[in-house]
């Protein structure tokens, strides 16, 4: 393996920031020096004007394999991730079949091996994500699964969720919830409010999310098990989690780039590319999610990368599947639209999510001699325009087409290999 030196950057990690060069040998950081001259290697990567950070970690990626390979594969998703600066992504279990058994989990992990990202997998809480029977969580935990969710839908049965939390506590794994009361949300294709009323599109009220956040806070209190709330999208959801944290409960939560940048007004043209679940909300909700990220109530940014084949996004709005691409735009959206220092943005995208899913063994740690060389080099001033045709994902359903963003990943290093150099995937 070729040695690499990353020269001229500002190293940012959980311990702070400093000017330093980073030498990488045999998959690990071999040296971090601030004299700027003494290191040499087979390959020199320029990091002038850039931030050298631990690789980003996405705990919410739909990789569509097995079952929907026309929309994405683990390999194409991993390439999109690398271009977005991610060195670790967590596959969501709503594949076909669902990731609900050791066999399917092994298949996904196997597909991830040798790709341009460290692909880990979640597993579903219930068999087939059908909400009635627990998956073999202990067997899955033995395979390394640390994070369970029925994402795509929430566990509707409160008693089952209670039992799942109690059982998970015994295994030391975390349960995550896609909060959506299906009865209250039934038939809704966008946020219920002024825009849905005007457009004549059936809406789902914010309360469909909030009642499940409330319920699971109560269950976290009851069971003592940790609960992670996925893609929170409303002001009151953020407030509920803030109150639960103040109470000392073991809860964490994430927010997506689309929920801190876009509102339901985008649905006005009936383009299903803006259909997502939870739906795009109001300006007030966007402001609350941003405040939550700034205040630390929201622990991390998650992409909810959800590829869909083009023909499915040309269905009528109410019939099209929900979801948006996210891996290749998340960092740039955070840098462009969140009024936060870059250190904080990197925290939200790297070591905080890494800790939640137990990926901090290899990702998000301090950049010091001996640590695994999972890094990304970010040029915070590079301005670029999102072109769907230029994305590495197999799908094209980005809601940001034509949008100009500031901040871009220049290089990504995975286990000592430069998988992205000068914003180009190397394989």
């Amino acid at each position: 393996m070729k040695s690499i030196v990353i020269r001229g950057g500002e190293v940012v990690d959980p311990t702070g920031s400093r000017r330093a060069d980073v030498l990488i040998e045999d998959g690990r950081v071999a040296a971090v020096t601030d004299d700027g001259s003494s290191l040499s290697a087979d390959v020199t990567l320029d990091a002038g004007g850039c931030v050298v950070a631990p690789g980003l970690v996405d705990l919410h990626a739909h990789l569509r394999q097995p079952g929907k390979e026309e929309a994405e594969t683990v390999e194409t998703g991993a390439r999109a991730a690398a271009l977005g600066g991610f060195t670790c992504i967590l596959a969501m279990p709503n594949t076909t079949p669902a990731i609900d058994s050791a066999g399917v989990a092994r298949e996904v992990l196997e597909l991830g091996r040798g790709t341009t990202c460290d692909v880990r997998t979640s597993a579903s809480i219930t068999v087939g994500r059908a909400g009635t029977q627990l998956t073999p969580m202990a067997e899955l935990a033995d395979l390394g699964v640390r994070f369970f969710t029925d994402d795509g839908s929430g566990v509707q049965d409160a008693r089952l969720m209670r039992r799942a939390l109690e059982y998970a506590r015994g295994l030391g794994v975390t349960l995550a919830q896609h909060c959506e009361d299906e009865v209250l949300a039934a038939g809704g294709s966008m946020n219920e409010g002024a825009w849905s009323s005007r457009l004549g599109i059936p809406g789902q009220p914010p309360e469909a999310e909030e009642v499940m956040v409330m319920r699971d806070i109560a269950l976290a209190r009851m069971t003592g098990a940790p609960v992670h709330f996925q893609h929170l999208s409303t002001r009151r959801s953020v407030q509920l989690v803030a109150a639960a944290k103040a109470e000392g409960l073991s809860v964490t939560c994430e927010a997506t780039p689309h929920h801190f940048t876009l509102t339901d007004e985008r649905c006005a043209g009936y383009d299903p590319v803006f259909k997502v679940n939870p739906p795009l909300r109001t300006d007030d909700d966007v402001a609350a999610v941003r405040q939550g990220l700034a205040a630390g109530t929201v622990d991390c940014i998650a992409t909810d990368h959800a590829p869909h084949a083009p023909e499915t996004k040309e269905l009528p709005f109410d019939q099209a599947p929900p979801g948006m691409l996210g891996l290749e735009t998340a960092l740039a959206l955070a840098l462009t639209h969140l009024d936060l220092p870059i250190t904080e943005v990197v925290a939200l995208l790297s070591w905080r999510p890494a800790a939640i899913i137990g990926a901090d063994d290899a990702h998000g740690g301090p950049i010091v001699a001996g640590c695994p060389a999972n890094l990304c080099v970010i040029d915070p001033s590079d301005t670029w325009t999102v072109d769907p045709a230029g994305l590495a994902s197999r799908s094209r359903n980005t809601p940001y087409a034509g949008m100009t963003l500031t901040g871009r990943v220049r290089h990504t290093i995975l286990a000592g290999e430069a998988v992205v150099v000068d914003a180009e995937a190397q394989r």
Partner: protein, 314 residues
């Protein structure tokens, strides 16, 4: 509206656009009264229907309008077509357009489908009703009928009664009536109103009896039985008791106030059978005016530069 290629929604139009279409309708009403009610205005133009949802009167009305304009018509029956074999809307409209059509008249159960189709074709798209969203030609014929009976809409007060939330007729009428200067009151139980009426130029009431003395027209929306399954109402009986237009309620109205309905009527539910047949009920006029209004819309979109009576005979 001359710069519009499509008719997708009333909300896109200005009051002036609507007035112009109503004035154009006058000339087609005149054509309709002729012994030979047909003009060559759209000779050589082809109009096709793409109805993904059952419709009798709207489809027949468009067909009659196109024929009276001498347009060629292509009939497309969704139930016997490749749509039933899973063909997408996009593939279907691109296939139809390849055969050479100038306008596609679309009805679909999903809101926004005409907007999507308009992105994919080069011809004109006319919305004949999309989901809960809009039904623009219904609103135009409603305006025309009100103008015919009340002399105009400016300063008039119109009550839209019933299932507003699930009604594309209401979502077009609200904008058409108010753009022409009328006051609109939505009258319904809260469960049948849109979740939000922010930005809607309307008043809202839950008490029909209190509103009726003050209106120039009462417009009854069709009450669909499936709403009973969604916990929106306890029963049709209770709905009729509070919101049905009965003879007793008609007595509350001004002598000259008219009764409207987009059809098909549920007699005995939103409208009592004997009320439907009163002279003040203008339901049949609405249907009759529908043909002339749709002639005006087709001519406006497809007849650019053509003379109403002589084109095609040269």
């Amino acid at each position: 509206m001359s710069d519009h290629r499509h008719l997708l929604s009333i909300r896109d139009l200005s009051g002036g656009d609507i007035e112009r279409l109503l004035t154009l309708t006058d000339s087609f009403v005149e054509v309709s009264r002729r012994r030979m009610p047909k003009v060559p205005a759209l000779q050589g133009r082809t109009v096709t229907w793409l109805f993904y949802e059952d419709s009798t009167r709207t489809r027949l009305s468009f067909e009659q309008a196109a024929k009276r304009l001498s347009a060629d018509t292509l009939s497309f029956s969704v139930s016997t077509s490749s749509v039933n074999k899973g063909e997408s809307v996009r593939d279907t409209v691109e296939t139809i357009e390849a055969m050479g059509v100038d306008a596609i008249v679309v009805r679909h159960r999903s809101s926004g489908v005409p907007h999507q189709i308009a992105q994919w074709v080069s011809g004109s798209v006319i919305n004949a009703g999309d989901g809960w969203h809009e039904h623009p030609t219904q609103a135009l014929l409603d305006c025309y009928t009100i103008r015919e009976h009340l002399g105009g809409l400016d300063g008039r007060h119109i009550a839209l009664v019933g299932d507003v939330n699930h009604s594309r007729v209401a979502r077009s009428d609200v904008w058409a009536f108010t753009k022409l200067g009328a006051t609109v009151t939505l009258v319904a139980p809260p469960t049948l109103l849109p979740p939000s009426t922010d930005g809607w130029p309307v008043r809202v009431s839950h008490d029909l009896d209190a509103v009726l003395p003050d209106v120039d027209a009462v417009y009854l929306l069709r009450m669909q039985r499936e709403r009973m399954d969604e916990a929106l109402l306890p029963s049709l009986r209770e709905y009729t008791n509070r919101f049905g237009l009965t003879r007793r309620r008609v007595e509350l109205m001004d002598d000259k106030a008219i009764v409207m309905h987009p059809g098909p009527m549920n007699r005995g539910v939103e409208i009592a059978a004997d009320v439907a047949d009163l002279p003040r009920s203008v339901v049949v006029d609405q249907v009759r005016n529908g043909v002339a209004v749709r002639m005006a819309v087709l001519f406006d979109l497809l007849g650019s530069g053509r003379d109403l009576d002589t084109e095609g005979t040269r």
